[in-house]
């Protein structure tokens, strides 16, 4: 049902965990749907230097979380905001149609984390 790359990211997820004193945190999904994702980011000079995740969900939810942490690190915030759900799915070699909507939350999670970072920056200013 899942591609080899999805299974790889699911069984050896990259960058699992929380970042202490994260610059931004994105929380998306809800347990009712069966998928919840927290994305933590560190930002230096407008560049994502560290991205980590914690996820409650199916294989696709965990694999997309892991995938996006790899895709996002080293990107500028603007570049990171351009990553779409489809980009993540494509990078993983595709996702089953039934999973495209519910479990493919990682791009939303990253966006929420960046927004959280920007809100915090505005408050500081």
């Amino acid at each position: 049902m899942y591609s080899e790359k999805v299974m790889d990211h699911f069984s050896n997820p990259r960058n699992v965990g929380e970042i202490e004193n994260a610059d931004g945190v994105g929380e998306v999904g809800n347990p009712t749907c069966g998928d919840m994702m927290n994305i933590y980011i560190k930002v230096e000079d407008n560049i994502l230097t560290d991205v980590k995740f914690k996820t409650f969900g199916c294989g696709a939810a965990i694999a997309t979380s892991s995938m996006i942490t790899e895709m996002a690190v080293g990107k500028t915030l603007e570049e990171a905001l351009d990553i779409t759900r489809n980009d993540v799915a494509e990078e993983l070699g595709g996702l089953p149609q039934v999973k495209m909507h519910c479990s493919n939350l990682a791009a939303d999670g990253l966006r929420a984390a960046i927004e959280d970072y920007r809100n915090k920056q505005n408050i500081k200013k």
């Binding site: 899942y2 299974m7 699911f10 069984s11 997820p13 699992v16 929380e27 347990p31 009712t32 749907c33 069966g34 998928d35 919840m36 994702m37 927290n38 914690k54 996820t55 409650f56 969900g57 199916c58 294989g59 939810a61 965990i62 039934v98 999973k99 519910c102």
Partner: protein, 390 residues
């Protein structure tokens, strides 16, 4: 890698003795039971012996057995067959909220055809609410269909109590005994049913064959029209090899029932006890004791079932998140919703259905694997330790 199969509620391996019983009917005894020559007579004799075997197992008469392609067809024939044939008496059907999709979707189809269906609720253990059932009966009720044992949570229903009510009100009673056959006693007179569905592949028989018991005098309409096979209730050349295999599987299940049930109950209780002892925040779904000997349904807080299933599969363990029929949809199980679980609790559920050949060593291996997998996923979960899902 070690392979452990604990998804016998989905299907079972065919017993080698069953395969032996089937083989002659593919090549040497390949006749059509409707033919009058000796090839046909051989097939007829196998067919009627099989019918006697299946009938005897459930306390029925041979002429009360209709062979079908399996549980789903049997359920369709029972519900639609009674509905169409008795619609002059009424168009009201009663069933439960936790039936197999083969009943629920058949009822939904009949609703579109102008029948009315009442879905009676179950309690938190999955037992049907008898008061609500009683209140649901009407003068125009023609059928009550309640499953003998549930396929997801294993809860066994009080069919003989329902039978008293049905008899009092002269309503036909059907039960889906697909999951209970071979695990607990299935006897049509003790249960007091008019119709009963059976399937072969859940009891180490081949796929694609099953039966519907129809008590003598029950008014039923055929759904498939053609030749005069199966007492004109199910047209089509009989699947002799499959039927012979089914009958052999029934015979073996009867012989082994007491021992198998005892063995599976021990494994079940050991598995539940060990998981509860070694993992926190786990609950058993379904009735604690009034459940199938081989059914374990556990919900693990803070994590999701599919990811548990995938990790266990990598360790060679085959289990399921709900029933195999619904695992490709994302909706929480209708059964777990009906027993009052919130969607977030349902999502963390696993169904483990044991078989006669599973061992205590396998149970221990599965418990160890669960400890590891649950720990791993909880470490990844954003809600573990932060909120209680109960």
């Amino acid at each position: 890698m070690k392979q452990i199969y604990m998804d016998h509620g989905a299907t079972t391996p065919v017993d080698p003795l069953v395969v032996d019983a089937m083989l002659p009917y593919f090549t040497e005894k390949f006749g059509n039971a409707s033919s009058l020559h000796s090839f046909g007579q051989e097939a007829t004799s196998a067919l009627e012996q099989s019918r006697q075997q299946v009938a005897a197992s459930i306390g029925a008469k041979p002429e009360e057995i209709i062979f079908t392609s399996g549980g789903t067809e049997s359920n369709n024939l029972a519900v639609k067959g009674v509905a169409y044939r008795n619609s002059d008496k009424g168009k009201h059907i009663i069933t439960s909220t936790i039936e197999h999709p083969a009943i629920l979707n058949t009822c939904a189809y009949l609703e579109k055809e102008g029948f009315e269906v009442t879905y009676v609720a179950v309690d938190s253990d999955g037992i049907i609410d008898m008061d609500e059932l009683k209140k649901a009966t009407r003068d125009d009720t023609i059928l009550i269909s309640v499953m003998h044992a549930n396929n997801e949570i294993g809860t066994i229903q009080p069919i003989s109590d329902i039978s008293k009510l049905a008899k009092e009100k002269s309503i036909y009673l059907h039960t889906d005994a697909v999951q209970s056959l071979g695990k607990i006693s299935v006897n049509v007179d003790e249960l007091g049913v008019d119709l009963l569905s059976l399937s072969s592949h859940k009891i180490h028989g081949p796929k694609g064959v099953g039966a519907l018991y129809v008590r003598k005098g029950t008014l039923l309409q055929a759904l498939a029209h053609g030749g005069s096979h199966e007492h004109r209730m199910r047209a089509g050349t009989e699947n002799i090899s499959g039927i012979a295999g089914f009958a052999k599987a029934v015979a073996l299940a009867d012989e082994r029932l007491v021992d198998d049930a005892k063995h599976m109950t021990q494994l079940r209780d050991s598995l539940i006890g060990k998981v509860m002892d070694s993992i926190d925040d786990v609950e058993l779904s379904g009735h604690p004791t009034n459940r199938l000997p081989n059914n374990v349904n556990l919900r693990f807080s803070f994590i999701e079932g599919e990811s548990m299933l995938l990790f266990l599969d990598m360790k060679g363990i085959a289990i399921s998140t709900g029933s195999a029929c619904s695992s490709k949809s994302l909706e929480p199980s209708h059964v777990l919703t009906a027993i009052g679980l919130r969607p977030e609790d349902s999502h963390g559920s696993l169904r483990i259905t044991l078989g006669k050949d599973n061992t205590h060593e396998e149970v221990d291996y599965v418990v160890d694997a669960l400890v590891e997998v649950v720990g791993r996923l909880r470490a990844m979960s954003p809600i573990a330790g932060k909120m209680s899902l109960k």
